[in-house]
């Protein structure tokens, strides 16, 4: 205990007070660490908020159910409920229908309406109508007695401005209907699903409202013994073909997995900011250790062990981490709030529906962020600490300090290590996924960026040998001296440039990735998402296309006399070997006349005929990567209880946000399933003149004929494509902020390094003043040093970024999301941004040039 107290004393005396002597330098580093910690913690907390919201909702929705009977791509027969209730070993059976519905009033958000059998459901879910008196306690029974009645969660009631006894109009593709509000749900259990945006009604009401006679979404089952094989066999024996029993948590597990992999992506990206912060810590701690070299020798000479010196320096790094983290947590609140909203929206769009109410500080996340920040900071201090242990106690006998920096030959070992890491990135990237996560891919990314940052030192020394003469002609003596300085540059300076290399590499690679992605998506929306008007059931996307267009709407469309081709399609949400995907049957002949697929390694002409003849399917790149199904292999699917198998003809690029897709011809689909339902339809105008007016006229016609009775989503092609690209841009907004943070931290590193360089070389600079150099010349010299360092950082960063972008596009994206895109370098953005980064970093050099002003030539007369 006394040892610890003494250690803390040394830490305060030797490290704490040294830090106090350079408040601005310390502030810059703390700011860097804090930004890194904010990025890392904020992103994780924001994703956690969505994950928690989703998990809570899913748990409340599945309640105590062990298993669920479902029919992938369709609905379950209601008769099955009665049959299942006779199975011994089943404690409970509960039919469920869930659908997003929209209030008929304008500008009201849709909410989840859950249809349950109130008596059967008692065993499954916790929900109760808020009751004051005896009479209102039995209100839930009225849900069964009176059609078109519902109970609202309190939050929803407040949002809609409705209470018991009020009426509310709701619409669904089948019809719009007025519901009577019986009461308010107690604020617990089911009432908390989706942050309270739910209402409950009787399952029969729901069937009538949605036109689902005799059909339900699923049947929840509660077993006496969850794993009892006998009961399971009896249940399975009752199921008609195409109907399956799956764990009640299946949807939750799938959703959690999707969100978790998104969280891993963002965590890695935000970790880069912390990683760049490590370089700042390294820079500050090594500068401090070097400036205290003599003090450390004295400390050693007084009997301090090497271990103690090592721990002191290491603790200095950790201390910076702790302080940075303490600043980050309160300071990052604003950014975290923004991320909670942004990331929540992205998860909503890309993966699963979540309603995030706010941020909950998870103690484990805080502990994780604290540990990661402190460990990263301590890691930054590791090398200086190791170097400090090599300080010999006999150095106290030397009268003068180390003096100026001696020229050191290029660090061959560093260069070789850097090159090895760069080269190793590719074989690393080829390693298989670990628990479905692209860990090896991320290791490859780090190997690459660390490799390039290690190449900085030899590059600077090499440049210092070759550029001075050229620069003398360009910028006079100051430029010459600045370039000469590079020749003798040491590890500390190169580390700061290395941080710049990492930030620029990341910037360049992400700029290329986002640009390539956007270009490809733009091409995709214009080809595969072609169409001038899109019509589908209202909230079809949210309700996973379970409700097709009503038959009278389909009939009306077929009788329209418009100069447009109709491309009907049907979309089924299915699973293939446990992986969710969408089976999309489209009228391909119409699509081929008006749009196209973007195939990988094949031309559409090669597969068109086979596709139209129903002799095969196209699978999306995501589907192929997730399932491992390649061209030539057989895709199997069970439709309407019957199994079908088709060869995979080609792999198509597809960027829909919820999993992979399989495409087949609509006519063939109708033939084999006997279904005449349309999930939606696209209209292609043949006469492209005055297209907007034609689209508008058709929209009006559809509203007049059908949308008054059946709520429909009617979107023009340009509107839909615009929305897709808007979602795309929103998705990358978080990335842009993370990138900006990494660049800011790197800028802080450059600023700190330059200031220290001036301070460390005050004797050298004073000598220059003493022999006639003006302060203006010295300032120019420092500025040139900044230019050269940042330019070197940008040059290496550019090369690193180009390599990294290949890894991101061809390794990380397929491993994380299952897709690749066409490689396109955004030269314009790079041409504009790199000079802007240079200019910004030069602004960071201003304090350093200012510090030259404070030099006094008399300093040359002083010792040390």
């Amino acid at each position: 205990m006394r040892g610890l107290r003494h250690f803390l004393r040394y830490l305060l005396w030797m490290n704490g007070r040294t830090l106090k002597r350079h408040p601005w330098r310390v502030c810059a580093v703390l700011l860097g660490i804090a930004l890194g910690a904010i990025a890392f913690t904020g992103v994780r907390l924001a994703v956690d908020a969505s994950l928690d919201s989703f998990t809570q909702s899913m748990n409340l929705l599945s309640g105590k159910a062990d298993w669920s009977v479902v029919r992938p791509g369709g609905r379950v027969q209601e008769d099955l409920v009665a049959e299942l209730r006779n199975v011994p070993g089943l404690r409970g059976v509960s039919p469920v229908i869930m659908s997003y519905v929209a209030p008929t009033e304008a500008n009201q958000e849709p909410f989840l309406l859950i249809g349950l059998a109130p008596i059967l459901d008692r065993q499954f879910r916790d929900w109760q109508v808020l009751s004051g008196d005896k009479e209102s306690r039995n209100l839930w029974l009225d849900l069964m007695r009176r059609p078109y009645t519902l109970v609202l969660s309190r939050r929803l009631a407040t949002r809609l401005g409705r209470g018991p006894g009020d009426e509310i109009g709701l619409e669904h593709v089948h019809q719009a209907k007025r519901f009577h509000v019986l009461g308010i749900l107690e604020p617990k259990g089911l009432a908390l699903v989706h942050n309270g945006n739910i209402a409950v009604c009787d399952v029969a009401t729901m069937q009538e409202f949605m036109g689902l006679h005799g059909k339900i979404d699923r049947i929840d089952l509660r077993f006496d013994n969850r794993e009892d094989p006998k009961t399971m066999d009896q249940v399975k024996a009752l199921l008609p073909p195409g109907t399956v029993v799956q764990p009640a948590t299946a949807r939750k597990d799938m959703g959690k997995e999707l969100i978790s992999s998104y969280q891993l992506n963002l965590s890695v990206l935000s970790f880069v900011s912390l990683f760049v912060g490590l370089f700042l810590v390294y820079s500050l701690v090594s500068i401090n250790a070097a400036s205290r070299r003599r003090d450390l020798a004295v400390f050693h000479s007084l009997g301090a062990s090497s271990r103690l010196v090592f721990l002191l320096i290491l603790s200095e790094g950790a201390l910076l981490g702790i302080l940075g983290w303490l600043i980050a947590i309160p300071a990052g609140r604003f950014l975290v709030k923004y991320w909670v909203a942004g990331i929540g929206n992205t998860i909503n769009t890309l993966f699963v529906r979540v309603e995030v109410s706010g941020l909950q500080l998870d103690p484990w996340e805080l502990v994780l962020s604290f540990l990661v920040t402190v460990l990263i900071s301590a890691a930054g201090a590791y090398k200086p600490a190791r170097q400090a242990t090599r300080i010999q106690p006999r150095e106290v006998m030397i009268l003068e300090g180390g003096g100026g920096m001696a020229w050191r030959g290029p660090k061959v070992r560093t260069a070789v290590l850097g090159a090895v890491l760069v080269v190793a990135a590719w074989p690393l990237a080829e390693l298989p996924l670990v628990s479905r996560s692209p860990i090896a891919g991320y290791v490859a990314v780090f190997s690459l960026i660390v490799g390039f940052s290690l190449l900085t030192l030899p590059f600077l020394q090499w440049g210092g040998e070759r550029v001075p003469r050229v620069l003398r002609r360009l910028g006079g003596v100051p430029a010459f001296l600045a370039a000469r300085y590079l020749r003798g540059v040491d590890e500390r300076t190169s580390i700061s440039v290395g941080a710049m290399v990492i930030a620029v590499s990341l910037f360049v690679s992400l700029a290329i990735m986002v640009h390539s992605f956007r270009e490809t998506v733009t091409l995709w929306v214009n080809q595969t998402l072609s169409g001038d008007l899109f019509v589908r059931a209202e909230m079809a996307g949210m309700n996973q296309y379970r409700d097709p267009l009503p038959q009278d709407v389909v009939d009306a469309f077929q009788e329209f006399e418009v100069d447009a081709e109709l491309m009907p399609y049907q979309r089924l949400y299915l699973e293939y070997r446990g992986i969710p995907y969408q089976l999309e049957a489209m009228a391909l002949d119409v699509l081929f006349r008006n749009g196209d697929f973007m195939l990988l390694d094949k031309e559409v002409e090669e597969v068109r005929d086979a596709l139209l003849a129903g002799k095969g399917v196209l699978v999306s790149e995501v589907f192929s990567n997730r399932t491992g199904l390649e061209v030539g292999e057989t895709f199997r699917v069970r439709l309407e209880g019957e199994e079908f198998a088709w060869p995979v003809l080609a792999i198509a690029r597809d960027y829909r946000t919820r999993g992979g897709a399989v495409f087949m011809d609509f006519g063939h689909f109708q033939e084999i399933t006997g279904s005449r339902e349309w999930g939606g339809v696209r209209f292609f105008f043949q006469n492209r003149d005055n297209l907007e007016a034609s689209v508008e006229a058709l929209r009006k016609k559809i509203i007049l004929c059908c949308a008054m009775e059946h709520p429909l989503e009617i979107l023009s092609g340009s509107q839909l494509r615009g929305e897709v690209l808007e979602i795309f841009d929103e998705t990358f907004a978080v990335t842009a902020v993370l990138l900006l943070i990494a660049l800011c931290i790197a800028g802080l590193g450059i600023a700190g390094t330059l200031t220290v360089l001036v301070m460390e070389r005050s004797r050298q600079l004073n000598t220059l003043i003493a022999i006639g150099a003006g302060q203006g010349q010295l300032r120019r010299m420092v500025l040139w040093e900044a230019v050269l360092m940042v330019a070197a950082g940008e040059a290496i960063g550019l090369v690193g970024g180009l390599c990294l972008s290949q890894l991101l596009i061809y390794v990380i994206n397929p491993q994380s999301f299952g897709w690749t895109f066409l490689y396109r370098v955004d030269w314009f953005t790079l041409a504009v941004s790199l000079p802007v980064i240079l200019a910004t970093a030069l602004l960071a050099a201003v304090p350093a040039t200012q510090s030259v002003m404070r030099l006094s030539p008399a300093g040359v007369l002083k010792e040390g």
Binding site: H6, W13, P393, M397
Partner: protein
């Protein structure tokens, strides 16, 4: 009677320290034989580069001999591990340097307490002892000042207190007056003489100056890393 209790505290045989720079070897000290008894005050003399500081570094456990044998207070320093050398520096010797080597971020009290803390003594106990020494050396009023706020003489006195705080058997001083004016130089030498007399510590002073001569029991002259002369002085 007092002489009868004296024992050899330092014994050096063929003590040699060779520095290697590239392919060049330079002998810091070479084949030195030396025996020092407890309570002696020895003055090491010689020109710059004669090996005074090297010898002091070896005696102080800051460096280790290339060959030969060096036994101090029963410890064979050539065979000592880094850990044993740390303990030796902490418990057996106290060092005083020409440039004082006070840590600039620590107050005088903290500076002088540091060896006590490194020896894992109670801070309050170390502080009390430090105060007594600071009082004795007449700088107690400066205990809460930082080194940058002290004069050269005060800094050296603080360095002496730091060397004494663990009551080491041996005090080693490397040019302790080298950075002081003559008045302060004389005072420091007088203090070292007093330390030798009152605490019965063995004191070895490496110096160009003649100020220590009057307190010396022996003077040893070094030239090119070897002892050229040993002369007994009046104690």
């Amino acid at each position: 009677m007092k002489e009868a209790h004296k024992k050899t505290i330092i014994a050096a045989e063929k003590l040699t320290r060779i520095y290697t720079t590239g392919s060049t070897e330079v002998a810091g000290v070479q084949d030195i034989d030396l025996a020092v008894s407890t309570g002696e005050l020895i003055v090491l003399k010689g020109n710059s580069g004669s090996g005074k500081s090297t010898l002091l570094g070896l005696l102080g456990g800051l460096d280790q001999p290339t060959r030969g044998r060096l036994v101090v207070d029963g410890r064979d320093l050539q065979l000592a591990s880094p850990k044993e050398l740390n303990r030796y520096r902490r418990d057996v010797v106290g060092m005083i340097f020409q440039t004082f080597n006070l840590l600039p971020t620590l107050t005088v009290l903290e500076n002088v307490s540091l060896p006590g803390l490194l020896a894992d003594r109670k801070y309050s106990e170390v502080q009390e002892e430090a105060d007594r020494f600071l009082e004795w050396l007449n700088i107690r009023s400066r205990r809460d000042h930082y080194p940058g706020q002290l004069s050269g003489g005060e800094m050296q006195r603080a360095a002496i207190v730091r060397a004494l705080i663990n009551r080491p058997a041996i005090i080693l001083a490397d040019e302790p007056t080298g950075n002081l004016d003559s008045t302060n130089g004389e005072a420091v030498m007088a203090l070292l003489g007093e330390v030798n007399a009152r605490l019965e510590s063995t004191v070895i002073i490496a110096t160009h100056s003649t100020l220590a001569d009057q307190y010396a029991t022996r003077q040893i002259c070094l030239k090119d890393g070897a002892i050229t002369e040993i002369s007994a002085c009046a104690a």
